[in-house]
Amino acid sequence: MPGMTATVRRAVRGVGWYVTALMGDTAYGNYVAHHRSTHGDEAPLTEREFWKERYREQDLTPGSRCC
């Protein structure tokens, strides 16, 4: 049943996309895409630098979590 495996594969890919987007794995990709479109000539930060910078900013502006 090739149709079935394709559906299963699509479902697995969908769940994978959702979980990684929800957890934040995709944040670097979003940044690179944004960077390319706005300052295409400069090199973007590396993934390591990006996360360092991101956590540093979170240190300075804490966000709240609910009860």
Binding site: G24, R56, P62
Partner: protein, 759 residues
């Protein structure tokens, strides 16, 4: 395109406005006539079926009320009512009050920076927002409210969310989004002026402190004298540190991967805790009394709040999100599979009295402050203004994310209620009555609970000791705070699906771990936010404090905030009257006063938009929240019944001390009596502070609303409207018209696609 949009309201400031868009691009909004898909016979039949099933479920719960009632009716009553409210009421709010305009760019689009402002897929953002708003609150309040029977809590959770909680979240999210993601405090300042704004700021800070303290108290009560719990919860710290290091130095950005590793380690910690709790050295090392645990949490809270985010806070937050969504889905499935029979009456003996051992005070207003989260939670306004509005792709999505997200939290509260209801009532009262009542012993608990005169309750010592053995604890008597009760309920339901009775101890500690994880995250995030607010306030007098990068200032402000909630925590832990029972009403009152503040700001904004016909949408829940919290506060301040009024209790103990007595009520020594005098003074003072601030905020909001009424509206504080250049559907599932438009955008050649692009 512009011809199909609504005409702006008379003031022109608030409602939708047609914005000319780029002619080369497809439309950025669905045509208005396609927004309301036609009613087909199939759709009518589906909605009739939903309404009938919901009606049947409510009949089973509220009218039939047999000897027992099956838990599945709670699920159906809740889900059917949510669906109807979402489809009809939230749609009405959208059309008449919110008036979103998809041709208008959201902050995520016009302020796009690839980091904080990112147009995010609506389904992902829904998950994000839900993970940020749902914590331990909806798991604790409903458990305590079971004292009054199942019906009052069920009705309030479901009706409250529809007309109050979800409305607040939706409106705050939308209004903040229209203002570039401004915070509730900033909006209060703009709409209510200096006095109202300052009162709102102080109230928020005070509320944050009390909420952190009481959440920490829940953890302390769950871990006291429990070596298994202490070990497994303590292990979350090294696990989070490991995850932090992994993400920083080994594989940056692989968050899902590290969360799965962390989850496996967490399970190992729970299983390992069970083994250690069976060894003598394990018991000797990890059996800590509550004061020691409280001091541990205070020290931990300070360290966690000054450590860099990447090391502890962020990784534990990932773990907590992962566990939260997984466990909630698992519990929902388990309730549907197991369908426990519930023997708790619809209205218990305590529904009409004010001397309940768990929640003291009459049903009105105390039911409505005991269950805050899940029905109406002011804290959400801090999330709905701030992070989430900066990520919304299209204006119309706010209904799904704001209103829909809160419906999901309400469903979590219903599940917590069901879990607590599935426990034997005798055990429930033995676990939740304070040690002052039960003496902390099995014999004392049996005598106390059987002496309450509850119908159908015949508690035996054997029941308590075998339940304690099943869940792997020394004792379950007077395990107050709600978390242990929920854990027993969850363990009972889960063992029906996985593992049988032999797995109950695992599930119990899984549930304790899961709640402790949320709460510890809330404690250290709350401390950071409170510190930040304090720095900002002190910065008005000593400008150096405004610089959040200045370590010394940050440390001083962190220490002040930790000491503030730490003092209340210690007070609760050592309270001779039982702690959580006296403090929990303050938590609910504080949370709902914040809700009243948020709704007051929304009302003032709606009035400025000139939409007076629909002012009742925020005004009715505001009036209700105001009446409930002000009545509850006044009872706490002025009631002459010592079990209800803080000052009545204060005076009674003080008089006994003056008379030279050496024991009074539940206090057996003069020191204990002095502690009660001190604690009731602090609690009574906090009640006065909260209610005064709330009255100021509500009064300034009413003044602002009346002013707007007299002038027919007011100048809008919204950001200027800019044209949108992206398109995305609004609900969870795209409608045919939305799919068509999506396909048009999909078909654009790559070099024509706008630069800000979503998934």
């Amino acid at each position: 395109m512009s011809g199909s949009l609504k005409t702006p309201p008379p003031t022109g400031s608030g409602g939708s406005s047609a914005i000319p868009s780029d002619a080369k691009l497809p439309p950025t909004a669905v045509r208005e006539e396609a927004l309301e898909p036609r009613w087909t016979p199939l759709k009518v039949a589906i909605w009739v079926a939903i309404a009938l099933l919901g009606g049947l479920s409510w009949t089973m719960l509220a009218i039939v009320r047999g000897e027992t009632v099956n838990a599945i009716w709670f699920v159906f009553a809740a889900v059917c009512t949510y669906l109807i409210a979402y489809r009809f009421y939230s749609k009405l709010i959208e059309r008449k009050l919110v008036q979103p305009d998809d041709t208008r760019a959201t902050p995520a689009e016009y302020k796009a920076d690839g980091k904080d402002y990112v147009p995010t897929d609506r389904r992902v953002l829904y998950g994000h927002h839900f993970a940020a708003i749902a914590g331990a609150g909806p798991l604790v309040g409903p458990v305590l409210a079971v004292q009054m029977g199942y019906l009052p809590g069920t009705i309030w959770i479901i009706i409250g969310v529809i007309f109050a909680g979800a409305v607040q979240d939706y409106l705050v999210l939308f209004f903040s989004m229209r203002r570039g993601g401004r915070s509730l405090g900033q909006m209060a300042r703009e709409e209510l002026g200096l006095i109202g704004g300052t009162a709102a700021l102080i109230a928020t800070l005070a509320i944050m402190v009390i909420i952190v303290a009481i959440l920490a108290l829940v953890v302390v009560n769950a871990l006291g004298e429990s070596p298994w719990g202490v070990f497994s919860v303590a292990m979350t710290i090294p696990i989070a540190l490991f995850m932090g290091v992994y993400l920083r130095y080994i594989r940056p950005g692989r968050i899902t991967e590290v969360s799965i590793i962390g989850f496996v380690l967490l399970m190992a910690a729970i299983i390992g805790g069970g083994m250690i709790a069976e060894t003598d050295w394990g018991v000797a090392l990890f059996s800590l009394d509550r004061v020691t645990i409280a001091i541990g949490i205070i020290v931990y809270g300070f360290i966690a709040a000054v450590l860099p985010v990447w090391l502890l806070l962020a990784p534990r937050d990932y773990l907590s999100t992962f566990m939260k969504i997984g466990t909630i889905v698992m519990l929902a499935v388990a309730i549907i599979v197991v369908r426990p029979e519930i023997t708790v009456p619809a209205f218990s003996e305590f529904a009409g009295r004010s001397d309940g051992p768990i929640v003291s005070g009459s049903l009105f207003p105390f039911l409505f402050v005991t269950i805050a989260c899940g029905a109406l939670s002011g804290f959400h306004a801090l999330i709905a203004s701030g992070t989430t509005p900066k990520l919304v792709q299209k204006e119309r999505q706010t209904r799904f994310i704001g209103y829909g997200g809160m419906l999901m939290e309400s469903f979590v509260a219903i599940m917590a209620l069901v879990a607590a209801l599935s426990i034997d009532r005798g055990i429930y009262f033995a676990m939740n009555s304070s040690a002052a009542a039960t003496g902390g012993t099995i014999e004392g608990a049996v005598a106390f609970v059987n002496g309450l005169g509850l119908a159908g309750v015949n508690l035996t010592g054997e029941m308590l000791s075998s339940m304690a053995a099943n869940v792997g604890e020394e004792s379950i008597v007077s395990r107050t705070g709600g978390a242990p009760t929920l854990a027993v309920g969850l363990a009972q339901i889960m063992q029906g699906v996985f593992g049988g009775a032999g797995m109950m101890a695992f599930w119990y500690h899984f549930a304790i771990m899961f709640e402790a994880l949320f709460i510890l995250t809330a404690v250290d995030a709350g401390t950071r936010v409170a510190r930040f607010m304090l720095q900002d306030t002190v910065g008005n007098f000593l400008p150096r404090f405004k610089n959040t990068g200045w370590r010394v200032g940050a440390w001083i402000c962190t220490a002040i905030m930790v000491l503030a909630w730490g003092a209340i925590l210690i007070m609760g832990v050592t309270d001779p009257l039982g702690g959580i029972n006296t403090l929990f009403p303050l938590f609910g009152i504080a949370n709902q006063l914040l809700a009243a503040i948020a709704l007051a700001v929304c009302m003032a904004i709606v009035a400025k938009r000139g939409l007076f016909r629909w002012l009742w949408i925020p005004a009715v829940p505001l009036a209700f929240a105001a009446v409930v919290t002000i009545t509850a506060s006044f009872l706490k301040i002025f009631s002459t019944v010592p079990a209800v009024g803080y000052w009545a209790n204060h005076n009674a103990f003080r008089a006994a001390l003056d008379a030279g007595e050496t024991s009074f009520g539940a206090a057996q020594t003069r020191e204990a009596m002095e502690a009660v005098v001190r604690n009731t003074f602090v609690q009574g003072t906090l009640s006065i502070v909260f209610v005064t601030l709330a009255i100021i905020v509500i009064a300034t909001a009413i003044v602002a609303t009346v002013k707007s009424y007299q002038s027919g509206g007011g100048a809008s504080s919204e950001d200027p409207a800019l044209p949108s250049e992206i398109y995305a559907p609004s609900g969870f599932v795209a409608t045919p018209a939305e799919k068509e438009l999506e396909a048009e955008w999909e078909a654009l050649p790559a070099d024509h696609k706008p630069t800000v692009r979503a998934h």
